[in-house]
């Protein structure tokens, strides 16, 4: 089945050690999103790609970067994770304006 896959499901990283989360999709959607979701809070949009165009939210820390090498894959890089970056990270895709977003199961990041 077509879907959005996030790897790994659980990631433990050390304080300050760079970490990369990955997302792949078989939906051929042109929009890919990264959200940060902390416990009992709304998903917070970090950035999104519309095709190759990268769109950063104004309040996304510089510590968070993203790469989209092709339509199918998108990566979230956290250059120096802090304790406050521990959260669930959700990847989503969309066919464009007005279309529903399809979400992956998320990666739960723990920072020790």
């Amino acid at each position: 089945d077509a879907m959005v896959i996030q790897n790994p499901r659980y990631q433990v990283t050390q304080f300050g050690k760079p970490v990369t989360l990955s997302c792949s999709q078989t939906l051929n959607h042109n929009v890919m999103y990264w959200y940060q979701q902390k416990s009992s809070q709304a998903p917070k949009l970090l950035f999104h790609y519309y095709d190759k165009d990268f769109n950063n939210e104004a309040d996304t820390p510089d510590n968070f970067q993203s790469r989209r090498p092709n339509t199918s894959f998108c990566f979230l890089d956290i250059r120096s994770p802090g304790l406050g970056d521990a959260a669930m990270y959700l990847c989503a895709t969309s066919g464009g304006q007005g279309f529903e977003a399809f979400f992956g199961q998320g990666t739960r990041l723990t920072v020790v």
């Binding site: 959200y35 709304a42 998903p43 999104h48 977003a101 979400f103 992956g104």
Partner: protein, 116 residues
Amino acid sequence: AQTVTQSQPEMSVQEAETVTLSCTYDTSESDYYLFWYKQPPSRQMILVIRQEAYKQQNATENRFSVNFQKAAKSFSLKISDSQLGDAAMYFCAYTTGGSTLGRLYFGRGTQLTVWP
């Protein structure tokens, strides 16, 4: 600023009864789309229902329907004949065209409990 407000952090309903979840939003865009998403304890977010702002008719999907009041910027979700499987966190969300093309914003969510 683009905002989505869900004023009910928690709601509960008896099985087979009806419950309404509230959502208001604020946007200066004229072209936008509204969504309700459900996030069960397994955490994968799934779409419940979608509404185009240019359509006056309220969207319905089986037991789920919306009351879309464009002038009031209100978008509530009604769940009829509630089932135990409806228990989840529900998020109201919207996406717009224009300067924020592609961005998808969420409210803080409403935790729905369904009692047998």
